[in-house]
Assembly symmetry: C2
Homo-oligomer: 185 residues x 2
Amino acid sequence: MNQIRPSTRDAIIEAAFLVFAENPGAALGDVAARAGVGRATLHRHFPGRLELMRALAKIAMAELDHAVAQATADAQSYEEGFRLSLEAIVPLANRQWFLANEGLQVDDEVAKAYRKSRSELCRDIELAKQEGLFDPALPTQWIAETYESLIYAAWSMVRAGDATSNQAADLAWRTFSNGLKGMSK
Amino acid sequence: MNQIRPSTRDAIIEAAFLVFAENPGAALGDVAARAGVGRATLHRHFPGRLELMRALAKIAMAELDHAVAQATADAQSYEEGFRLSLEAIVPLANRQWFLANEGLQVDDEVAKAYRKSRSELCRDIELAKQEGLFDPALPTQWIAETYESLIYAAWSMVRAGDATSNQAADLAWRTFSNGLKGMSK
DNA sequence: GATTCATGAGACATATATGTCTCATTTGAT
DNA sequence: ATCAAATGAGACATATATGTCTCATGAATC
Protein backbone atom coordinates (compact mmCIF):
# COMPACT_ATOMS: atom_id res chain seq x y z
CA MET A 1 0.00 0.00 0.00
CA ASN A 2 1.81 3.08 -1.15
CA GLN A 3 -0.82 5.76 -1.19
CA ILE A 4 -3.92 6.91 0.62
CA ARG A 5 -6.72 4.58 -0.37
CA PRO A 6 -9.27 6.44 -2.44
CA SER A 7 -11.96 4.20 -1.00
CA THR A 8 -11.25 5.45 2.51
CA ARG A 9 -11.53 9.03 1.38
CA ASP A 10 -14.74 8.27 -0.45
CA ALA A 11 -16.18 6.50 2.56
CA ILE A 12 -15.44 9.52 4.73
CA ILE A 13 -17.02 11.87 2.22
CA GLU A 14 -20.16 9.82 1.83
CA ALA A 15 -20.46 9.39 5.61
CA ALA A 16 -19.96 13.12 6.09
CA PHE A 17 -22.82 13.95 3.72
CA LEU A 18 -25.08 11.52 5.58
CA VAL A 19 -24.11 12.58 9.09
CA PHE A 20 -24.09 16.32 8.41
CA ALA A 21 -27.47 16.06 6.71
CA GLU A 22 -28.85 14.63 9.95
CA ASN A 23 -26.94 17.04 12.17
CA PRO A 24 -24.74 19.78 10.73
CA GLY A 25 -23.03 20.20 14.08
CA ALA A 26 -22.07 16.56 14.36
CA ALA A 27 -18.60 15.79 15.71
CA LEU A 28 -15.89 14.58 13.38
CA GLY A 29 -15.77 11.42 15.48
CA ASP A 30 -19.33 10.69 14.41
CA VAL A 31 -18.37 11.09 10.77
CA ALA A 32 -15.37 8.81 11.20
CA ALA A 33 -17.47 6.20 12.99
CA ARG A 34 -20.11 6.28 10.27
CA ALA A 35 -17.39 5.83 7.68
CA GLY A 36 -16.03 2.86 9.63
CA VAL A 37 -12.74 4.67 10.03
CA GLY A 38 -10.60 5.90 12.89
CA ARG A 39 -10.75 9.53 13.85
CA ALA A 40 -7.04 9.95 13.19
CA THR A 41 -7.51 8.65 9.67
CA LEU A 42 -10.13 11.26 8.99
CA HIS A 43 -7.62 13.91 10.06
CA ARG A 44 -5.00 12.42 7.72
CA HIS A 45 -7.32 12.92 4.77
CA PHE A 46 -8.76 16.25 5.94
CA PRO A 47 -6.63 18.29 8.36
CA GLY A 48 -9.61 19.78 10.11
CA ARG A 49 -13.32 20.31 10.11
CA LEU A 50 -13.09 23.36 7.89
CA GLU A 51 -11.08 21.53 5.25
CA LEU A 52 -13.56 18.66 5.29
CA MET A 53 -16.48 21.04 4.88
CA ARG A 54 -14.71 22.82 2.05
CA ALA A 55 -13.98 19.55 0.29
CA LEU A 56 -17.60 18.47 0.67
CA ALA A 57 -18.80 21.78 -0.71
CA LYS A 58 -16.55 21.54 -3.76
CA ILE A 59 -17.52 17.91 -4.33
CA ALA A 60 -21.21 18.71 -4.01
CA MET A 61 -20.87 21.53 -6.49
CA ALA A 62 -18.93 19.40 -8.96
CA GLU A 63 -21.28 16.43 -8.72
CA LEU A 64 -24.35 18.58 -9.15
CA ASP A 65 -22.89 20.47 -12.09
CA HIS A 66 -21.84 17.26 -13.76
CA ALA A 67 -25.13 15.47 -13.15
CA VAL A 68 -27.19 18.35 -14.50
CA ALA A 69 -24.95 18.92 -17.50
CA GLN A 70 -25.06 15.21 -18.31
CA ALA A 71 -28.81 14.97 -17.90
CA THR A 72 -29.68 18.04 -19.91
CA ALA A 73 -27.14 17.55 -22.68
CA ASP A 74 -29.75 16.79 -25.29
CA ALA A 75 -32.74 18.64 -23.89
CA GLN A 76 -34.82 20.17 -26.66
CA SER A 77 -36.72 22.68 -24.56
CA TYR A 78 -36.67 24.38 -21.19
CA GLU A 79 -39.53 22.17 -20.15
CA GLU A 80 -37.44 19.11 -20.86
CA GLY A 81 -34.43 20.77 -19.28
CA PHE A 82 -36.14 21.42 -15.97
CA ARG A 83 -37.65 17.96 -15.88
CA LEU A 84 -34.35 16.25 -16.56
CA SER A 85 -32.53 18.49 -14.09
CA LEU A 86 -34.96 17.56 -11.35
CA GLU A 87 -34.45 13.87 -12.08
CA ALA A 88 -30.71 14.38 -11.89
CA ILE A 89 -30.68 16.46 -8.73
CA VAL A 90 -33.13 14.54 -6.56
CA PRO A 91 -30.76 11.59 -6.03
CA LEU A 92 -28.12 14.15 -5.06
CA ALA A 93 -30.42 16.15 -2.86
CA ASN A 94 -28.16 15.76 0.16
CA ARG A 95 -25.41 17.43 -1.87
CA GLN A 96 -27.73 20.24 -2.83
CA TRP A 97 -28.77 20.67 0.77
CA PHE A 98 -25.24 20.66 2.10
CA LEU A 99 -24.09 23.08 -0.53
CA ALA A 100 -26.87 25.57 0.12
CA ASN A 101 -26.82 25.35 3.90
CA GLU A 102 -23.21 24.73 4.89
CA GLY A 103 -21.04 25.05 1.81
CA LEU A 104 -21.77 28.71 1.30
CA GLN A 105 -20.43 29.56 4.74
CA VAL A 106 -17.08 27.82 4.48
CA ASP A 107 -15.76 28.68 1.05
CA ASP A 108 -15.97 31.96 -0.79
CA GLU A 109 -15.16 30.36 -4.11
CA VAL A 110 -18.02 27.93 -3.69
CA ALA A 111 -20.32 30.73 -2.60
CA LYS A 112 -19.44 32.67 -5.71
CA ALA A 113 -20.02 29.68 -7.97
CA TYR A 114 -23.31 29.01 -6.22
CA ARG A 115 -24.51 32.55 -6.81
CA LYS A 116 -23.56 32.20 -10.43
CA SER A 117 -25.47 28.96 -10.84
CA ARG A 118 -28.42 30.52 -9.08
CA SER A 119 -28.43 33.44 -11.48
CA GLU A 120 -28.24 31.01 -14.40
CA LEU A 121 -31.25 29.24 -12.96
CA CYS A 122 -33.10 32.54 -12.85
CA ARG A 123 -32.10 33.30 -16.42
CA ASP A 124 -33.37 29.88 -17.53
CA ILE A 125 -36.60 30.49 -15.67
CA GLU A 126 -37.15 33.74 -17.51
CA LEU A 127 -36.45 32.12 -20.83
CA ALA A 128 -38.81 29.30 -19.88
CA LYS A 129 -41.46 31.91 -19.17
CA GLN A 130 -41.17 33.00 -22.79
CA GLU A 131 -41.51 29.38 -23.81
CA GLY A 132 -44.79 29.38 -21.93
CA LEU A 133 -43.64 26.96 -19.23
CA PHE A 134 -44.23 29.36 -16.36
CA ASP A 135 -46.73 32.12 -15.69
CA PRO A 136 -44.78 35.30 -16.57
CA ALA A 137 -46.59 37.11 -13.79
CA LEU A 138 -44.94 34.97 -11.15
CA PRO A 139 -41.73 36.34 -9.61
CA THR A 140 -38.70 34.53 -10.96
CA GLN A 141 -37.34 34.30 -7.44
CA TRP A 142 -40.45 32.47 -6.35
CA ILE A 143 -40.11 29.95 -9.14
CA ALA A 144 -36.49 29.38 -8.13
CA GLU A 145 -37.45 28.95 -4.48
CA THR A 146 -40.19 26.52 -5.40
CA TYR A 147 -37.77 24.55 -7.52
CA GLU A 148 -35.32 24.15 -4.67
CA SER A 149 -38.02 23.46 -2.11
CA LEU A 150 -39.54 20.68 -4.15
CA ILE A 151 -36.14 19.04 -4.40
CA TYR A 152 -36.09 18.85 -0.62
CA ALA A 153 -39.67 17.63 -0.53
CA ALA A 154 -38.73 14.86 -2.93
CA TRP A 155 -35.69 14.05 -0.81
CA SER A 156 -37.92 13.71 2.26
CA MET A 157 -40.15 11.26 0.43
CA VAL A 158 -37.16 9.14 -0.51
CA ARG A 159 -35.70 9.21 2.99
CA ALA A 160 -39.02 8.25 4.51
CA GLY A 161 -39.22 5.29 2.16
CA ASP A 162 -42.39 6.67 0.61
CA ALA A 163 -40.97 6.84 -2.91
CA THR A 164 -37.99 6.00 -5.06
CA SER A 165 -35.84 8.81 -6.41
CA ASN A 166 -37.51 8.55 -9.77
CA GLN A 167 -41.00 8.55 -8.33
CA ALA A 168 -40.22 11.52 -6.10
CA ALA A 169 -38.61 13.43 -8.95
CA ASP A 170 -41.68 12.80 -11.06
CA LEU A 171 -43.99 14.08 -8.34
CA ALA A 172 -41.80 17.15 -7.93
CA TRP A 173 -41.81 17.79 -11.64
CA ARG A 174 -45.58 17.51 -11.97
CA THR A 175 -46.16 19.72 -8.97
CA PHE A 176 -43.59 22.21 -10.19
CA SER A 177 -44.86 22.51 -13.73
CA ASN A 178 -48.55 22.44 -12.84
CA GLY A 179 -48.16 24.78 -9.92
CA LEU A 180 -46.39 27.48 -11.91
CA LYS A 181 -47.94 26.77 -15.29
CA GLY A 182 -48.03 29.35 -18.04
CA MET A 183 -50.86 29.92 -20.49
CA SER A 184 -49.57 27.83 -23.35
CA LYS A 185 -49.36 24.60 -21.39
CA MET B 1 -38.55 45.07 40.51
CA ASN B 2 -39.80 41.95 42.18
CA GLN B 3 -39.93 39.35 39.45
CA ILE B 4 -38.19 38.25 36.31
CA ARG B 5 -39.15 40.68 33.57
CA PRO B 6 -41.31 38.96 31.01
CA SER B 7 -39.84 41.22 28.36
CA THR B 8 -36.37 39.84 28.99
CA ARG B 9 -37.61 36.31 28.60
CA ASP B 10 -39.45 37.24 25.43
CA ALA B 11 -36.40 38.95 24.02
CA ILE B 12 -34.33 35.84 24.64
CA ILE B 13 -36.92 33.63 23.01
CA GLU B 14 -37.27 35.80 19.94
CA ALA B 15 -33.49 36.11 19.62
CA ALA B 16 -33.12 32.37 19.98
CA PHE B 17 -35.53 31.71 17.11
CA LEU B 18 -33.62 34.15 14.94
CA VAL B 19 -30.14 32.93 15.83
CA PHE B 20 -30.93 29.22 15.72
CA ALA B 21 -32.65 29.66 12.37
CA GLU B 22 -29.37 31.02 11.02
CA ASN B 23 -27.20 28.48 12.83
CA PRO B 24 -28.73 25.72 14.94
CA GLY B 25 -25.38 25.13 16.62
CA ALA B 26 -24.97 28.74 17.72
CA ALA B 27 -23.57 29.34 21.18
CA LEU B 28 -25.84 30.54 23.95
CA GLY B 29 -23.65 33.60 24.15
CA ASP B 30 -24.71 34.49 20.62
CA VAL B 31 -28.34 34.19 21.61
CA ALA B 32 -27.82 36.34 24.68
CA ALA B 33 -25.97 38.95 22.65
CA ARG B 34 -28.71 39.07 20.03
CA ALA B 35 -31.26 39.50 22.80
CA GLY B 36 -29.19 42.33 24.24
CA VAL B 37 -28.83 40.41 27.46
CA GLY B 38 -25.99 39.01 29.53
CA ARG B 39 -25.15 35.37 29.25
CA ALA B 40 -25.80 34.85 32.95
CA THR B 41 -29.27 36.29 32.55
CA LEU B 42 -30.06 33.78 29.87
CA HIS B 43 -29.08 31.02 32.27
CA ARG B 44 -31.34 32.49 34.93
CA HIS B 45 -34.31 32.17 32.62
CA PHE B 46 -33.27 28.87 31.08
CA PRO B 47 -30.92 26.68 33.14
CA GLY B 48 -29.22 25.23 30.07
CA ARG B 49 -29.28 24.82 26.33
CA LEU B 50 -31.60 21.84 26.49
CA GLU B 51 -34.15 23.69 28.59
CA LEU B 52 -34.04 26.65 26.19
CA MET B 53 -34.55 24.37 23.21
CA ARG B 54 -37.42 22.62 24.94
CA ALA B 55 -39.06 25.92 25.78
CA LEU B 56 -38.68 27.10 22.20
CA ALA B 57 -40.18 23.89 20.90
CA LYS B 58 -43.19 24.15 23.17
CA ILE B 59 -43.66 27.82 22.33
CA ALA B 60 -43.39 27.12 18.61
CA MET B 61 -45.95 24.38 18.86
CA ALA B 62 -48.35 26.52 20.90
CA GLU B 63 -48.04 29.55 18.64
CA LEU B 64 -48.56 27.51 15.50
CA ASP B 65 -51.54 25.67 16.94
CA HIS B 66 -53.10 28.88 18.09
CA ALA B 67 -52.48 30.77 14.86
CA VAL B 68 -53.92 27.99 12.72
CA ALA B 69 -56.93 27.46 14.96
CA GLN B 70 -57.62 31.18 14.96
CA ALA B 71 -57.21 31.54 11.21
CA THR B 72 -59.33 28.55 10.26
CA ALA B 73 -62.06 29.05 12.85
CA ASP B 74 -64.66 29.96 10.28
CA ALA B 75 -63.34 28.17 7.23
CA GLN B 76 -66.16 26.78 5.13
CA SER B 77 -64.16 24.26 3.14
CA TYR B 78 -60.84 22.46 3.10
CA GLU B 79 -59.75 24.75 0.31
CA GLU B 80 -60.35 27.75 2.51
CA GLY B 81 -58.80 25.94 5.46
CA PHE B 82 -55.54 25.24 3.68
CA ARG B 83 -55.35 28.74 2.28
CA LEU B 84 -55.95 30.38 5.64
CA SER B 85 -53.54 28.01 7.37
CA LEU B 86 -50.79 28.93 4.95
CA GLU B 87 -51.40 32.62 5.58
CA ALA B 88 -51.21 32.00 9.30
CA ILE B 89 -48.12 29.81 9.24
CA VAL B 90 -45.90 31.75 6.83
CA PRO B 91 -45.26 34.61 9.28
CA LEU B 92 -44.35 31.93 11.85
CA ALA B 93 -42.22 29.93 9.47
CA ASN B 94 -39.18 30.17 11.72
CA ARG B 95 -41.24 28.48 14.45
CA GLN B 96 -42.31 25.78 12.03
CA TRP B 97 -38.73 25.27 10.95
CA PHE B 98 -37.37 25.11 14.48
CA LEU B 99 -40.06 22.74 15.57
CA ALA B 100 -39.52 20.33 12.70
CA ASN B 101 -35.73 20.43 12.74
CA GLU B 102 -34.71 20.91 16.35
CA GLY B 103 -37.77 20.61 18.54
CA LEU B 104 -38.41 16.99 17.70
CA GLN B 105 -35.00 15.99 18.97
CA VAL B 106 -35.17 17.63 22.37
CA ASP B 107 -38.61 16.84 23.70
CA ASP B 108 -40.56 13.62 23.41
CA GLU B 109 -43.82 15.30 24.30
CA VAL B 110 -43.34 17.82 21.50
CA ALA B 111 -42.36 15.05 19.11
CA LYS B 112 -45.52 13.17 19.97
CA ALA B 113 -47.68 16.26 19.48
CA TYR B 114 -45.94 16.97 16.20
CA ARG B 115 -46.64 13.50 14.90
CA LYS B 116 -50.26 13.92 15.88
CA SER B 117 -50.57 17.23 14.08
CA ARG B 118 -48.90 15.70 11.05
CA SER B 119 -51.38 12.86 10.98
CA GLU B 120 -54.21 15.37 11.27
CA LEU B 121 -52.73 17.20 8.29
CA CYS B 122 -52.75 13.95 6.35
CA ARG B 123 -56.34 13.29 7.36
CA ASP B 124 -57.33 16.75 6.19
CA ILE B 125 -55.51 16.20 2.92
CA GLU B 126 -57.46 13.02 2.30
CA LEU B 127 -60.73 14.73 3.07
CA ALA B 128 -59.72 17.58 0.78
CA LYS B 129 -59.11 15.03 -1.95
CA GLN B 130 -62.76 14.05 -1.64
CA GLU B 131 -63.67 17.71 -1.87
CA GLY B 132 -61.79 17.75 -5.17
CA LEU B 133 -59.03 20.06 -3.97
CA PHE B 134 -56.23 17.57 -4.66
CA ASP B 135 -55.68 14.89 -7.24
CA PRO B 136 -56.65 11.69 -5.39
CA ALA B 137 -53.93 9.83 -7.26
CA LEU B 138 -51.19 11.85 -5.56
CA PRO B 139 -49.69 10.32 -2.41
CA THR B 140 -50.96 12.08 0.68
CA GLN B 141 -47.42 12.17 2.02
CA TRP B 142 -46.29 14.04 -1.06
CA ILE B 143 -48.99 16.64 -0.60
CA ALA B 144 -47.95 17.07 3.02
CA GLU B 145 -44.28 17.42 2.06
CA THR B 146 -45.16 19.95 -0.61
CA TYR B 147 -47.19 21.91 1.90
CA GLU B 148 -44.31 22.15 4.35
CA SER B 149 -41.75 22.85 1.63
CA LEU B 150 -43.73 25.74 0.22
CA ILE B 151 -43.90 27.28 3.68
CA TYR B 152 -40.11 27.36 3.71
CA ALA B 153 -40.01 28.67 0.16
CA ALA B 154 -42.30 31.49 1.20
CA TRP B 155 -40.14 32.14 4.25
CA SER B 156 -37.10 32.46 2.00
CA MET B 157 -38.86 35.02 -0.13
CA VAL B 158 -39.71 37.09 2.93
CA ARG B 159 -36.19 36.86 4.37
CA ALA B 160 -34.66 37.88 1.06
CA GLY B 161 -36.94 40.90 0.98
CA ASP B 162 -38.55 39.66 -2.23
CA ALA B 163 -42.06 39.57 -0.79
CA THR B 164 -44.16 40.38 2.23
CA SER B 165 -45.58 37.55 4.30
CA ASN B 166 -48.95 37.97 2.66
CA GLN B 167 -47.52 38.03 -0.83
CA ALA B 168 -45.39 34.98 -0.17
CA ALA B 169 -48.29 33.10 1.41
CA ASP B 170 -50.41 33.89 -1.63
CA LEU B 171 -47.72 32.61 -3.98
CA ALA B 172 -47.40 29.45 -1.90
CA TRP B 173 -51.13 28.91 -1.90
CA ARG B 174 -51.49 29.33 -5.65
CA THR B 175 -48.55 27.05 -6.33
CA PHE B 176 -49.84 24.51 -3.83
CA SER B 177 -53.39 24.37 -5.09
CA ASN B 178 -52.52 24.53 -8.79
CA GLY B 179 -49.67 22.08 -8.47
CA LEU B 180 -51.73 19.39 -6.79
CA LYS B 181 -55.09 20.24 -8.27
CA GLY B 182 -57.93 17.76 -8.43
CA MET B 183 -60.42 17.37 -11.24
CA SER B 184 -63.21 19.51 -9.88
CA LYS B 185 -61.13 22.67 -9.54
C1' DG C 1 -34.95 57.75 50.38
C1' DA C 2 -34.55 52.78 51.56
C1' DT C 3 -35.22 48.27 50.01
C1' DT C 4 -35.52 44.48 46.96
C1' DC C 5 -34.48 42.01 43.16
C1' DA C 6 -33.28 41.37 38.29
C1' DT C 7 -29.44 42.34 35.68
C1' DG C 8 -24.47 42.76 33.59
C1' DA C 9 -19.86 41.73 33.81
C1' DG C 10 -16.59 38.69 34.61
C1' DA C 11 -14.05 34.87 37.03
C1' DC C 12 -14.04 30.06 37.39
C1' DA C 13 -14.42 25.03 36.74
C1' DT C 14 -16.15 21.57 33.62
C1' DA C 15 -17.43 19.11 29.45
C1' DT C 16 -16.90 18.26 24.81
C1' DA C 17 -14.81 18.65 20.31
C1' DT C 18 -10.67 19.37 18.04
C1' DG C 19 -6.09 18.56 16.41
C1' DT C 20 -1.48 16.26 17.12
C1' DC C 21 1.26 12.54 18.13
C1' DT C 22 2.96 7.71 18.91
C1' DC C 23 3.05 2.97 18.11
C1' DA C 24 1.44 -1.47 16.91
C1' DT C 25 -1.12 -3.65 13.20
C1' DT C 26 -2.84 -4.46 8.74
C1' DT C 27 -2.84 -4.11 3.89
C1' DG C 28 -1.29 -3.86 -0.77
C1' DA C 29 2.64 -3.99 -3.94
C1' DT C 30 6.86 -6.12 -5.32
C1' DA D 1 7.92 -13.46 1.91
C1' DT D 2 9.35 -8.66 2.36
C1' DC D 3 8.69 -3.93 2.48
C1' DA D 4 6.40 0.43 2.55
C1' DA D 5 2.60 2.89 3.69
C1' DA D 6 -2.00 3.50 5.48
C1' DT D 7 -4.69 2.52 9.28
C1' DG D 8 -6.68 2.02 14.26
C1' DA D 9 -6.38 2.83 18.92
C1' DG D 10 -5.43 5.72 22.25
C1' DA D 11 -2.81 9.35 24.86
C1' DC D 12 -2.30 14.16 25.02
C1' DA D 13 -2.80 19.20 24.81
C1' DT D 14 -5.82 22.86 23.25
C1' DA D 15 -9.92 25.49 22.10
C1' DT D 16 -14.52 26.48 22.70
C1' DA D 17 -19.02 26.18 24.82
C1' DT D 18 -21.29 25.40 28.97
C1' DG D 19 -22.84 26.07 33.57
C1' DT D 20 -22.02 28.16 38.26
C1' DC D 21 -20.80 31.72 41.09
C1' DT D 22 -19.81 36.44 42.96
C1' DC D 23 -20.32 41.20 43.16
C1' DA D 24 -21.50 45.72 41.70
C1' DT D 25 -25.20 48.26 39.32
C1' DG D 26 -29.70 49.88 38.16
C1' DA D 27 -34.61 49.95 38.32
C1' DA D 28 -39.05 49.34 40.50
C1' DT D 29 -41.70 49.15 44.87
C1' DC D 30 -42.65 50.74 49.40
